[in-house]
Symmetry: C2
Subunit: 213 residues, 2 copies
């Protein structure tokens, strides 16, 4: 939902886009199939799925099957937090931006609903921008790659509304942490609850395919 | 040479170490075999080799076989520069540091001999540290992972001397950009020239196995 809306915003901003997905040992691959489908339907220049070995590092319920996915919100940093995940993702995006001589990176982080994740906060994005400016050929040459996180301060309801305005087909998107092979959601995990709340707040019908249906 | 000396420094500083190597589509694998050998001989807690898809992004003579490896130093940023490479490496190290609750990351970047690489400069390391503090659970909790680059301001000659003091066996190390399957060096690429200069500056015999020998 966030990634699809983020891509729609980048396209609406007039960018020709290279889309980048990551296969990092999530428990299901439905999300990646959905990403490839959405990318091909929106006319991006390219779509890559990079396989990352984050699962080999362990430490998160999303990549380590010995940690249970929670079904109720918890205090502090959730067990679904993947250590340094957004830093790894943005680093690869930075590499791709250098190779393709891109002017900007659009990333779908969101600070409102995921306040427990340290790498979804505005001050994190700001620090990544400073680091990126010093890390890259473009930065050294005074043409830095701009890191944009257009969803950062939006609520899930606002993301749903923005996505619908831009023509995003949310039935194609997968948010659930434990979706089945057809991409149908469990309806019970943190991600499903946030998504349901998003549709409710936007005042539109829930465009999610559930396993129970 | 740099990585082996860096690991020896971390061990000498009293750390129990998790070693991390990256298979990122280099033209040869001799470097990775050497890294695994050296790690196992020095008694690290663990050694991981993560496979990265940097080659799929293209853009460097080290990962893209359509770009020739240069045999003479050039002005500016060299074609052997791999876009955002150190950022990607440090990001994975940061993930591993969070999972293992490590106090520090030791990285073998060197600013003196590789001044053409933007991500080998002190101001880059400083910016990565700030970003890492905001990206991680440890950072949020006020126990940041310290990014250490002990070779940053050393000349290649000083690295050779420091390594020898700490018992590094440089015959096992591979620096060459186009080493053969036995890890023997070409003697002509940038990396070989820097290494030769290092031994000369340190006033010790060149402990390198060459293809011509």
């Amino acid at each position: 939902m966030d990634s699809a809306t983020c891509l729609a915003i980048a396209l609406a901003d007039g960018f020709a886009c290279h889309a980048l997905s990551f296969d990092y040992g999530q428990r299901h691959e439905a999300e990646l199939r959905a990403a490839a489908e959405i990318a091909s339907c929106t006319g991006v220049i390219s779509h890559r799925t990079l396989r990352l070995d984050l699962g080999a590092l362990g430490g998160s319920a999303l990549t380590d099957t010995s940690i249970a996915v929670p079904e109720a919100p918890a205090e502090g940093i959730p067990v679904t937090y993947v250590p340094a995940r957004n830093t790894v993702f943005l680093s690869f995006a930075l590499a791709l931006a250098e190779v393709t001589d891109a002017d900007a990176i659009y990333a779908g982080m969101n600070a409102v609903d995921y306040s427990g994740y340290p790498d979804c906060r505005p001050e994190y994005i700001d620090a990544f921008q400073v680091m990126a400016n010093r890390a890259t050929r473009r930065g050294v040459e005074g043409r830095p790659v701009e890191i944009r996180a257009p969803l950062l301060r939006l609520s899930k309801g606002q993301i749903v509304r923005r996505g619908l305005e831009l023509g995003v087909d949310f039935r194609r998107t997968v948010s659930c942490y434990q979706a089945d092979v057809q991409g149908r959601a469990c309806g019970r995990c943190d991600a499903c609850r946030l998504r349901q709340q998003g549709f409710a707040d936007a005042g539109v019908p829930d465009a999610t395919r559930y396993q129970a249906d």
